[in-house]
């Protein structure tokens, strides 16, 4: 384990839209929005600015509800951050920022943990794990998993 850093990493601040996601993460469950009309799963965050999508990206229904995801997927791509932006991350450089393609057919960005940078490979099986950032907030991350 790396020594505990005194500098605090950013902790997400849930808002009304994202509260169910963070509440579930604290309980160890990864939630995705699913369309009630066509069962399409949505990526848990959007694109630039990352608001959630208000409608189904497939059939445009507004009938979306949070549903538990299986938490399994594969590594779609990864980048290694070498630039220091925040001193709280200083002793982890370079660290990975990864895109995981979940079995539900959606991609999400997170970190892969319990895996050295040189052991990351695109296509590797991953499973969700949760990192407690503060008393009230946990976020999903991914660790190497068993092949499906």
């Amino acid at each position: 384990m790396k020594p505990h850093t005194l500098l605090a990493k950013p902790v997400p601040i849930p808002d009304e839209e994202s509260r169910p996601f963070f509440d579930a993460a604290r309980a160890g469950v990864l939630l995705l929005l699913r369309c009630g009309a066509c069962d399409t799963f949505m990526s848990p965050t959007g694109g630039i600015g990352t608001p959630l999508r208000p409608r189904c990206v497939s059939c445009f229904s507004a009938d979306l509800a949070w549903a538990a995801a299986g938490g399994k997927g594969t590594l779609y791509s990864f980048a290694l951050m070498h630039q220091l932006y925040d001193a709280a991350f200083a002793d982890e450089l370079p660290y990975n920022i990864s895109v995981v393609e979940l079995d539900e057919g959606v991609r999400m960005t997170a970190n892969v943990v319990d895996c050295a940078n040189e052991d990351l490979w695109i296509g590797m099986p991953l499973e969700v794990t949760f990192e407690q950032l503060s008393e009230g907030i946990a976020i999903p991350k991914f660790r190497p998993g068993l092949a499906a």
């Binding site: 990526s43 848990p44 965050t45 694109g47 959630l52 290694l80 932006y85 920022i97 057919g105 695109i122």
Partner: protein
């Protein structure tokens, strides 16, 4: 619409670490330079299009700041790096339908401050750490910075699928640096670079080296668009707008599509070439949006200069550089000249089409293809410029 309008004026300010001028100052300088270049007066301008960016000055208020009066066309347009092409498109339509006669299109920015480093500029991505909800999640993953991470992820995916190498990406960077040595205005003029230098440059976000990434610049570029007839009576050789197209493929982050490797350049290119009635093989000069080396590579593929996945092999013989068979980003591009979003490739395209490239002028320059790209390969524009109609 084909060839009915033309770029009649071009203004480029000093670029890079230029201090003591704000965004409005730069915008005014570039428009004044462009009007002088065309032989037009302030009072001739009846249309003003600003490329909206993070600067609050790039908004309709700019008209009042610059004292422009009696306009019949005004808008701040934003397709991020694709805007230059879409602004030309809007200007051309307005002119062709009699809504305006002389339209100034401008990009200005001043992200650098004296004594500050680039990482402290508005491109740092640090300033948005106060977001809440899902927007705050990325910072918990350490995903700081502007677009470096998302382009790094796209580039890595391409490397994985097709075996694209750093030697190949580096060849793009080196070729553009060679062009910049022929462009006194380029920020990297007088700073040559070898492939070894490229490999030695530090990682920013792996797989992106520092020299895979564009510059940051203070400055402005403006172009004046008018009717082809009027342009012929003005000071400069007209650069005709032969064709244009936009494409925004979307990104639902679902497994069915890979927008990181299949971009809107394909569709916007088809639209622009069809309108121009030009085949890809006829293009003489390419000015491709190059926020990163990878953007150039994937745009070449999507325009159809080579098959999908073969961009690396296509560029590795150096054909994009000076003396190569496909001169590309002939002023050094955003990697090595200056970063004015889509106005970097557009301005060099105008220079080449006019035949005013001096040392770096490409011998055949009748047809110039200019690309724009915004977001993470989300928004595309293509413009076909012609030295003749």
């Amino acid at each position: 619409m084909r060839g009915q309008t033309a770029i009649a004026g071009l203004g480029i300010t000093e670029m890079g670490k230029v201090y003591g001028r704000n965004v409005t100052d730069f915008a005014g300088d570039a428009i004044a330079l462009a009007l002088d270049d065309a032989g037009l007066e302030k009072s001739d301008v009846d249309g003003l299009l600003m490329n909206a960016n993070h600067s609050p000055e790039m908004a309709p208020m700019l008209q009042l700041s610059l004292g422009l009066e009696d306009l019949t066309l005004i808008s701040a347009m934003n397709g991020y790096g694709s805007s230059a092409g879409t602004m030309l498109q809007y200007a051309a339509h307005a002119i062709a339908t009699g809504q305006a006669g002389v339209v100034a299109c401008v990009y200005a920015d001043a992200p650098l401050s004296q004594g500050g480093s680039i990482s402290q500029s508005s491109y740092s991505g640090r300033g948005i750490g106060s977001d809440t909800g899902f927007a705050s999640l990325r910072f918990a993953y350490g995903d700081y910075g502007p677009a470096n991470t998302s382009y790094a992820l796209a580039c890595r995916r391409h490397m994985h699928l097709y075996g694209t190498t750093h030697d190949q990406l580096g060849t793009i960077a080196v070729g553009q640096r060679e062009w910049a040595q022929l462009n006194p205005r380029a920020q990297m003029h007088g700073k040559p670079m070898t492939l070894a230098d490229y490999h030695d440059s530090r990682w920013v976000v792996e797989p992106l080296h520092l020299f895979d990434c564009c510059l940051v610049s203070n400055g402005a570029v403006a172009v004046i668009v008018t009717s082809a007839e009027r342009a012929r009576e003005l000071r400069q050789p007209p650069v005709y707008l032969l064709g244009f197209g936009q494409a925004a493929p979307g990104d639902n982050r679902r497994a069915e599509r890979e927008p990181a490797v299949h971009t809107g350049a394909r569709r916007s290119g088809e639209l622009a070439l069809r309108m121009a009635d030009v085949a890809l093989e006829e293009i003489d000069v390419l000015e491709l949006y190059d926020c990163y080396t990878y953007t150039v590579l994937v745009t070449l593929e999507d325009y159809g200069f080579c098959e999908k996945g073969e961009g690396g092999a296509f560029v590795e013989d150096g054909k994009l550089g000076p003396g190569g068979s496909l001169p590309t980003n002939t002023g050094g591009g955003q990697l090595s000249s200056f970063y004015m979003w889509g106005f970097t490739p557009l301005s060099e395209g105008v220079i080449q089409a006019r035949g005013q490239g001096r040392e770096r002028q490409v011998p055949n320059h009748d047809l110039v293809l200019v690309s724009g790209n915004g977001g993470t390969l989300n928004w595309h524009s293509t413009t076909v410029l012609g030295a003749a109609r």
